[in-house]
């Protein structure tokens, strides 16, 4: 059997694991956390103000116009949904592939998914012209006909897909948390904590029969979440691919978007994990440099997939001979928005190549910077797709530019306020590493027992 590095460093016992991971939940927050939380909270309040203005005054406050009818709200929506997919991938897909190293990052990655989906979910609701009527997108029985919805529209597919994804991710994450909540409840010193975590743990007892059913359901959820995560971002890509704009109407979008989602999601996990390891130094034993390195390898792989997708798009545009398709791609690289295209290419294709070098894969400052650049590049990728395809389409008389306003900036930046507020709260209230999943792999790398879970 292959000798591998220990998954958990420091020769921890079962009790050590519980103590280490429960510590942030049980102690008073540090100045660092409080500072970051106040910052995130302020940004969140600013964000609420921006969104309230847009809902109250009109979508015209943003830069959308004719012909660019979709703008920062949709770009940022796809950005956040994409980030969410890495969490499900780590939780579900890597579980199916028996990758034991996922155990220490799965919980936080799945939390990132839930919060990213929550952040993303606001955008399809608020980007509409009359958001107070968004409930009309749901096919509920009514007395107005009854009026039904258009199931042929990708936006409707989105409603089902994103709702299913939000629900299943939330459920999957929560099921994973139940045994850990029981752990915290059993350790709780004051009655309030015991009641709250007791309620959250649903009265979990942890008998062998319970664990047997639990593991089966975990496997089922993982097995269901895998096609789900692939289908959700495929359906999000259909928002573009099912339309007929040159630059949108292409069959490569489903795999391209899924690869891109995994790419940006892992980058966000690396960003967050780097910060978590700095904020909670005891976690360095659970989320080791090996874990970080493996994630960087995934980042590089998916980055190259994305780069391949860019190249094949160009090739197919040329090969198709379609004048509109060819023009869109030349315009992307050399037209008025060419600057955004080159930011995308350098951040997504060029910088991640540094990860060929082991030294950089294992360097915290390097991976932190590259993970941030990857997310910058991925936001710009959605910007390039959305805005450059819309701004110059079939009839040149309609060509125009996106009228970027500072509300657009506010929406983009403010969404991070929402995400970070939720994430920082999570770090204090929930155990950030899955205790019940790390314990079975405690000995991996220490002796010959590192077998299957």
């Amino acid at each position: 059997m292959m000798k591998r590095n220990p998954l958990v460093l420091g020769n921890k016992t079962l009790k050590d694991v519980t103590d280490d991971i429960c510590a942030p939940v049980e102690r008073f927050p540090s100045k660092g956390w409080v500072g970051m939380f106040l910052g995130a909270k302020t940004l969140l309040l600013f964000y609420i103000g921006i969104l309230a203005s847009v809902v109250g005054v009109g979508i015209g406050l943003l830069g959308v116009n004719s012909p660019v009818f979709w703008g920062t709200m949709i770009v940022t929506f796809v950005f956040w949904i994409g980030i969410g997919h890495a969490g499900t991938l780590i939780s579900a897909v890597l579980f199916l592939f028996r990758q034991k190293w996922r155990t220490s990052v799965a919980r936080t990655a799945e939390a990132m998914t839930v919060f990213a989906v929550m952040t993303a979910g606001l955008f399809p609701l608020l980007h509409t012209g009359r958001p107070w009527l968004d409930y009309w997108l749901f096919p509920y029985p009514n007395q107005r006909g009854p009026l039904w919805v258009n199931f042929r529209s990708p936006l409707l597919w989105d409603v089902f897909a994103v709702s299913t994804y939000a629900t299943v991710s939330m459920v999957f994450w929560y099921i994973g948390l139940v045994p850990d909540f029981a752990t915290i409840k059993d350790r709780a010193k004051n009655k309030l904590r015991r009641t709250v975590y007791g309620a959250l743990s649903l009265g979990w007892r942890g008998t062998a029969k319970n664990w047997s059913h639990y593991e089966m359901v975990y496997l089922l959820l993982a097995g269901l979440s895998t096609p789900l995560v692939l289908s959700v971002h495929t359906i999000v890509s259909f928002d573009f691919a099912v339309s007929n704009l040159p630059g949108w109407h292409t069959t490569i979008f489903p795999p391209y978007f899924v690869a891109g989602a995994i790419f940006s999601g892992f980058a966000m996990v690396v960003t967050l994990m780097t910060l978590v390891r700095i904020g909670f130094p005891e976690f360095k034993n659970y989320v080791t440099l090996d874990h970080m390195e493996v994630m960087n390898k995934i980042i590089m792989t998916t980055g190259m997939l994305v780069g391949y997708a860019y190249a094949s798009e160009f090739f197919i545009a040329w090969y198709s001979g379609n004048q509109y398709e060819r023009f869109v791609f030349i315009n992307r690289a050399f037209g008025p928005y060419g600057w955004s295209y080159w930011i995308m290419v350098s951040c997504n294709v060029i910088f991640p190549q540094l990860f060929w070098f082991r030294r950089f894969r294992r360097s915290i400052p390097v991976m932190f910077v590259i993970s941030l650049l990857v997310n910058v590049g991925m936001w710009f990728e959605r910007f390039v797709i959305t805005v450059t395809s819309l701004h110059r389409d079939f009839l040149p008389s309609s060509w125009g530019m996106y009228a970027w306003s500072w509300f657009d900036t506010g929406v983009l930046v403010g969404s991070f306020g929402m995400f970070l507020t939720l994430f920082l709260l999570y770090l204090r209230l929930f155990p950030a590493v899955s205790i019940a999943e790390v314990k079975p792999v405690l000995h991996v790398g220490y002796d010959d027992k590192g077998g299957h879970h």
Partner: protein
């Protein structure tokens, strides 16, 4: 208020020990015993004679229900109840309905699996019994209820101690 059953529990500190203990308990003829741990132990199902969970059947059946529901919803609303010419497309646009059907399949299957889990484990429940708070941390336990076949307190205590239990106590579960 849940009803607890009286019985006897042994507490161990090592995973290997409890696996051996569970095997022995089962060989000794006990059937209603419970093995408690903070995490799922590899090999426990075999040792305790636990049959494969029935939840996958629920998941499968509900998946089929979800698929049918998706098909029924889209077909009935688009081709029967309110058939509207949308983009010149046929009223029953099956290719376009596939994503909806797929998502409902997954949704119903996932939620029903979790529902089945709750049923199978008897959760949520207020005030679950706790033999030892460290059982959700680093300790393991076997509990044999008083109404199990061949229940003999002294014999069980003896067996537990031979198997390396650090603690044996009379308790409720």
């Amino acid at each position: 208020m849940a009803k607890y059953t009286k019985g006897i529990a042994g507490i161990w500190l090592e995973e290997a020990q409890i696996l051996k203990a569970v095997r022995k308990v089962r060989e000794s003829g006990y059937q209603k015993f419970e093995a408690i741990s903070a995490y799922p132990i590899h090999g426990m199902e075999e040792a305790a004679g636990i049959k494969r969970s029935w939840i996958p059947y629920v998941a499968f059946v509900m998946a089929v229900v979800g698929l049918a529901a998706g098909l029924g919803l889209t077909w009935w609303t688009s081709a029967v109840d309110w058939a509207v010419n949308v983009g010149g497309k046929p009223f029953f646009s099956l290719p376009a309905f596939v994503p909806i059907m797929f998502e409902l399949t997954i949704l119903l299957s996932a939620l029903s699996s979790v529902g089945a889990l709750f049923y199978a484990c008897g959760i949520p429940r207020l005030d679950p019994p706790v033999i030892d708070p460290d059982l959700s941390c680093h300790k393991f336990a076997i509990f044999i209820p008083h109404n199990d076949t061949g229940y003999d307190e002294a014999k069980i205590e003896q067996m537990f101690k031979e198997l390396g239990a650090t603690e044996v106590k009379k308790t409720e579960y």
